[in-house]
Assembly symmetry: C2
Homo-oligomer: 420 residues x 2
Amino acid sequence: MVRELAERCKEASRQLRVASVIQRNNVLERYARLLEQNTERILEENEKDLIAARADGMSEALLDRLTLNGKRIGGIAGSVRKVLSYADPVGGADGAVRHPNGMLISKRQVPLGVVGVIYEARPNVTADVVSLCIKSGNAALLRGGRAALLSNTALVALAHEALQDAGLPAGCIGLISDHDRSSAVEMMGLTGLLDALIPRGGKGLIKSVVENAKVPVIETGWGNCHVYVDEEADLAMAVSVTVNAKCSRPSVCNAAETLLVARPVAGDFLPKAAEALAKQSVRLHCCPESLAILQKAGADPALLCPAEELDWETEYNDFDLAVCVTDGLNQAAEHINRYGSGHSDAIITKNYFTARRFTELVDSAAVYVNVSTRFTDGEEFGLGAEIGVSTQKLHVRGPMGLDALTTAQFVIEGEGQVRE
Amino acid sequence: MVRELAERCKEASRQLRVASVIQRNNVLERYARLLEQNTERILEENEKDLIAARADGMSEALLDRLTLNGKRIGGIAGSVRKVLSYADPVGGADGAVRHPNGMLISKRQVPLGVVGVIYEARPNVTADVVSLCIKSGNAALLRGGRAALLSNTALVALAHEALQDAGLPAGCIGLISDHDRSSAVEMMGLTGLLDALIPRGGKGLIKSVVENAKVPVIETGWGNCHVYVDEEADLAMAVSVTVNAKCSRPSVCNAAETLLVARPVAGDFLPKAAEALAKQSVRLHCCPESLAILQKAGADPALLCPAEELDWETEYNDFDLAVCVTDGLNQAAEHINRYGSGHSDAIITKNYFTARRFTELVDSAAVYVNVSTRFTDGEEFGLGAEIGVSTQKLHVRGPMGLDALTTAQFVIEGEGQVRE
């Protein structure tokens, strides 16, 4: 069943591959309109999902992510139109060279082919992936969370209608309705059918896909980000950046999870930081040295606890922050490279040489100097629509724009050239 | 043992990452000289490998690949100096944007970190990988074929000497001396230590690594390439390109393995092609239609046999060619996309529209119009040193230059910017 869907995607991708950007944009325009026109129908299906999820005891936070309403569907249609507005990521040539024998070698961007996405029970991701894939000329095989199946089925049915209205096969978008664990495993083994598999979700899901997939994977999503306050930091700036990096949206992957402080300023900086963080009830998981400083400074004991080894590698995604005093730059960089996720890490320093050195030592997708880690994001970086943030090094690193869904193809044109 | 070596590579890669290109070039210059100065010592170790391999009954072809001599070592040293001469692939920035809030976002190329390579008993690959990795700032963990262990040990010892002479740790290059199957499996599981794993060798090795590795893989190497002779082809050109694509070097991955012919010209073209190919004793594995045409035309029966399904997906790497008559362009493209390896495929046609359509329909790394497939090669494409030819779509596709051993890193500089 999964394989059949994938084969249909592969077949359809051949047509999508040669569809003009006008045709692909027509699909998106039609899709946005269909979403708006069929809001009631989508909400009815979503309501059934919600009733079942509540009966299964789903948490409020997860129920919220599963919930659609008129405003949210309007937002989804708006996102589809936004993707429509971006430049065509495929077809353009990235330079050409003429070989001494006269043949012309050009390198152009083409769609990947079929992109698989495994994600959780968030129906908005369905429309997101549909629009990003169609825009970039890719077919998509989707496996959303089981709890969102009826919502997703409705959203995909409209995508099929939009595709067919634009003269493209419905098979461009496949939705897996079987939610056995085996269907995910089957997806991971679709060698030759899936050109890329993108897991979107928690660390467990991502790890499982990365370790078990036989098809190529684009790893996205989790982030254990650091702010390092150097001995020559502007301490007011350090407090402001720390609070922003931790508190402005703790649930996202570019939020800070560990605060590193150079020993010479720890006694001065940590009480100030703790005071500001206490306003948002941030719980600090402290190394012995920082714990002693904060206890001595009279920080709220309810917000302090000793850090364990595990804290250094934890993505809290909450109002929790690990705190560690370090000797200085080198030790901080070592800590980040050892425990971090290679996502986003910042230094606060006034020293030019230290700043430069930090960006060279830290092996992460985004390295910040005197800026909050919270900016790692496709829109903020000027890449347009964001598919996710890659924490792997191959193919794409950091925020992924539509380009990440393309690959290169060499085209060589000549008049009978042969190789000696 | 494998893990310890990988950890040493990781540790050393931190230093290599910040080494200047002058320092990295010094390693290569020193390495080339050491190879020349220690030719005798290398040959002694190679001789021991050869004696053992002969005793084990290694075939002449494989013995030839294992064999070093003074001239070959001179060639290896020359290759090292050639890599030295290329532009530095790391450190440069690929554009920068200023965010409305004033921070500067730049994207620069950095080394991957630690690159693992699994390859067969060809000592020249050892020096190749050493020079490509050091030039691009990467540490390398090598697992060469068991039969070349003594040769490789000698070559790596000289690399260690060159690194240390240039002030870099010997740990930058690790050589696995244990050739149990388990050491390859262990390499494939070095998550967090190996940033990329490149298998160089036969289809079996590559397939096993692609399917079993938990670390990111760059798939290289095998090629089932096609020449499609369109009904509007210049038939003399078609014969010349076919002979070149098949015969100029049948053992390499960009050699043609299947000849597709449009039905309207099959009767005219195939006997001409068979005559030219017979001069090099090329054995033709024919579909029923082409077999009938060639038998009727009086082609040498010793060079003809019926094709089986398996022939369409076989990389002969020899003077063998599968032959299939097709309805025309669309069926040819379908055949290529279905059975091909996505490496290099050519059309011979005089028709402008057919040529354009072929390049759009065929989903391969390199698509040729009226040119032999044999040109798919880093040097020929102007990419400089070639690490291999990628047949995957993620990260890098087609011939890989030094750039394929780098990844991007965003650097964001500001004065305390925080996100609203």
